[in-house]
């Protein structure tokens, strides 16, 4: 069972309270596709991913980025049982979408960096540590149902 300190809960809440899903979601996913181009393998049906500009202006990617980020809300609302909260999504990603679970970490690194860019120095080392702990729990939960 993951143990969260009060400081960690406060940091994570604060970060999410300031989050504009429609801005950060698209930025995060498009950044992942640009920085780690092999992740584009999962987006064959998403239209033009030819270069960074095309990816950043692609409306299907933007919409999907928001969807993925909204998925994190489930963990935020169930911080004490993230494992079970994501059981269904884990099966979806492993059996239907067939996403290599290593990709979850790549996306979570991009999300951390997008949030750092938005929050600036307010994204303190302590905030970063709490947020990355949260994301690593999510990533682990999403990877659980892979067999």
């Amino acid at each position: 069972m993951v143990v969260w300190t009060d400081e960690e809960r406060a940091a994570i809440s604060d970060i999410f309270s300031k989050l504009d899903y429609d801005d950060v979601g698209p930025k995060c996913l498009s950044r992942c596709l640009i920085v780690y181009p092999w992740t584009q393998r999962y987006f064959g049906a998403f239209g033009n991913l030819y270069n960074a500009e095309a990816i950043m202006n692609n409306p299907l990617i933007a919409k999907h980025g928001t969807t993925v980020l909204r998925g994190l809300e489930r963990a935020l609302k169930n911080m004490d049982d993230i494992k079970n909260t994501y059981a269904e999504l884990s099966i979806l990603h492993s059996e239907k979408l067939r996403v290599d679970p290593d990709n979850f970490k790549l996306l979570s690194d991009c999300l951390t960096i997008v949030i750092a860019a938005k929050m600036g120095t307010a994204f303190t080392p302590e905030y970063q540590a709490s947020f990355q702990k949260f994301l690593s729990v999510v990533v682990s939960a999403l990877g659980r149902q892979y067999h």
């Binding site: 498009s30 950044r31 640009i34 920085v35 960074a52 990816i55 950043m56 690194d109 951390t112 960096i113 997008v114 750092a116 860019a117 938005k118 929050m119 600036g120 120095t121 994204f123 080392p125 302590e126 970063q128 540590a129 990355q132």
Partner: protein, 141 residues
């Protein structure tokens, strides 16, 4: 694989960091040790509290080495030869930790550069730092 444009971008960014090398370096190290506590094991001999002179001077060394190398990326193997030897035979830091510091360097750059640290700059920087880390670990075995 870095394009000429990416190499220019990387050199430009690090050039701006040179005057604030202690601040940036200390922040990178602090972020790494806070987020990945296992990395603290390499700093038992230093005072690693925030704003400590040790952290600032050590951070400065790291930033200046990365900045220096960015001025002529094609000569990385030559420029880094002494640091390769240092890390392989004296420091013996497990190379998996290089990735952790690289990530924290990216976070620090993002926090200071905001929107200017766009996906293209991020991709270029990630590639550069990965190459730097790989060269640093080359003499390990």
């Amino acid at each position: 694989m870095l394009t000429d444009h990416e190499k220019e971008l990387i050199a430009k960014i690090w050039d701006k960091m040179i005057p604030v090398a202690s601040d940036i370096g200390a922040e990178c190290l602090l972020r790494m040790m806070t987020t990945f506590p296992g990395t603290k094991t390499y700093f038992a001999h230093l005072d690693i509290r925030p704003r400590s002179p040790h952290l600032r001077s050590h951070g400065k060394k790291i930033v200046l080495a990365i900045a220096e190398c960015s001025k002529d990326i094609s000569s990385m193997m030559v420029t880094l030869a002494p640091l390769q030897t240092l890390h392989a035979y004296k420091l013996r830091i497990d190379p998996c930790n290089f990735k952790l510091l690289c990530h924290c360097i990216l976070v620090t750059l993002a926090a200071h550069m905001g929107d200017e640290f766009d996906p293209v700059a991020h991709a270029a920087m990630d590639k550069y730092l990965s190459a730097f880390a790989a060269v640093l670990a080359e003499k390990y075995r």
